[in-house]
Symmetry: C2
Subunit: 272 residues, 2 copies
Amino acid sequence: MNNVWVDGVAQASIPASDRGLAYGDGLFETIRVSGGKTTMSVYHWQRLQHGCQRLGIALNLSQLRDEVAAFLQTSAVGSGILKVIVTRGSGGRGYNPQGCCSPRRILSIHPLPERKPDPGFVGARVKMCRLRLGRSALAGLKHLNRLEQVLARDEWQGDYYHEGLLSNDNGHLIEGTMSNLFVVSRPGELITPDLSFCGVAGVCREFIIDLAHSRGLTVREQPVLPTLDVAEVFLCNSVNGVWPVVECEQRVWPVGPVTTFIRDCVLEKLHG
Amino acid sequence: MNNVWVDGVAQASIPASDRGLAYGDGLFETIRVSGGKTTMSVYHWQRLQHGCQRLGIALNLSQLRDEVAAFLQTSAVGSGILKVIVTRGSGGRGYNPQGCCSPRRILSIHPLPERKPDPGFVGARVKMCRLRLGRSALAGLKHLNRLEQVLARDEWQGDYYHEGLLSNDNGHLIEGTMSNLFVVSRPGELITPDLSFCGVAGVCREFIIDLAHSRGLTVREQPVLPTLDVAEVFLCNSVNGVWPVVECEQRVWPVGPVTTFIRDCVLEKLHG
């Protein structure tokens, strides 16, 4: 990471006493930057604020947004990924977070991942991961406790697969390692897994739910079976946009019309 | 933290790119130091090595142990707590840990916590936490994903309670926020919760299981009901030793003979 700010200052290191390191006591956002500006930022800041409230981290969001604006101006990056980490800071005693009131902000900029050909157009090949996501009191949050994702992502190597799908203890599909899952069950109806008990409530997922509602599509949050006996399947995140799934464990799908429509709307949003 | 080494060098900061910060991608040990030496170290190194194997972190344990010895010598601390954090280091791409082969070692020394009167002798008052521990693929490991413990510990303030007890989704007791749980169900028989699906397999817990076997006591790893309808209850960790539980949600227990015996054996071990 060449360009890093910690608490508003250009600096590539953090105190070893940070609770983000000690306990994963914090949250993050991975934001696509286009034309020097953050995209889907309303959704990102809303989720971050919600997460801070849930964890009891007293983030000053307006200060953070000012820092992000100054950071992007200084970085002079047109396109890229902005990573924002907010930790509870240093302090407290053991696990006890009480008395720890100075959240730390860590901003860094990274190149956009490139895959050629672009899975957003030719489609993504996906595998089923063995790791099962645990039921968590912190479901939905994009917190720093991400070992499940690390281990799931380690289940395959090489370029053949673009993403891995994760299930819960009941065998229901929940999400990809770095993306959310939608299926088109019948014309005009999207289903995405309910994330009340595990999974990360992605920003792009929220955008798509709002988009669908505004276009008269139905969205149901309900269990998705691994048989994936549906017309279309797609994955989404706020960096890559929408990836139509064209292959998963011997099943194949075309890049369907609903997916194409949503992909293009998301792409427009991500291009700022 | 005044005294910190990172990768064998005195230094109080780590790169902001560390995966321990980004994802909690690492493990830790909290080791009691007595007479300038680590205690229960065979158990600590064994658990750390097992955890590294499970996470695929290529730790050089013998290098780490040399660093710890040099660190303690330099620190010249007689009694205290040594915290050892091992992360996967910097690198990899997103969650993908592949190609990230230089684990980072972070050593720090802290004063022993002091509570007067000592709950090890007068007993501990314990509350039931609301937070339920999720079933996890990483059960048993002392990894850096510890938000559950942070939130559980935040459920009470002040000095009245010494510890909080955590249950799983079925309502079975699993552990304390920073300790493991044992109950004496009948003379000569200890029960401690099975940690196959959640919880941290504490070093002191392992020591007590071995101790009990060597003294002809039975130890069963099986569900413990929250009614705690048992003769004795105690908590343990490798810093505080054994705390007899004397009060939990309107129930009271004396400091019983089995607990006292085990507490004294553990204390002897922790005094080096």
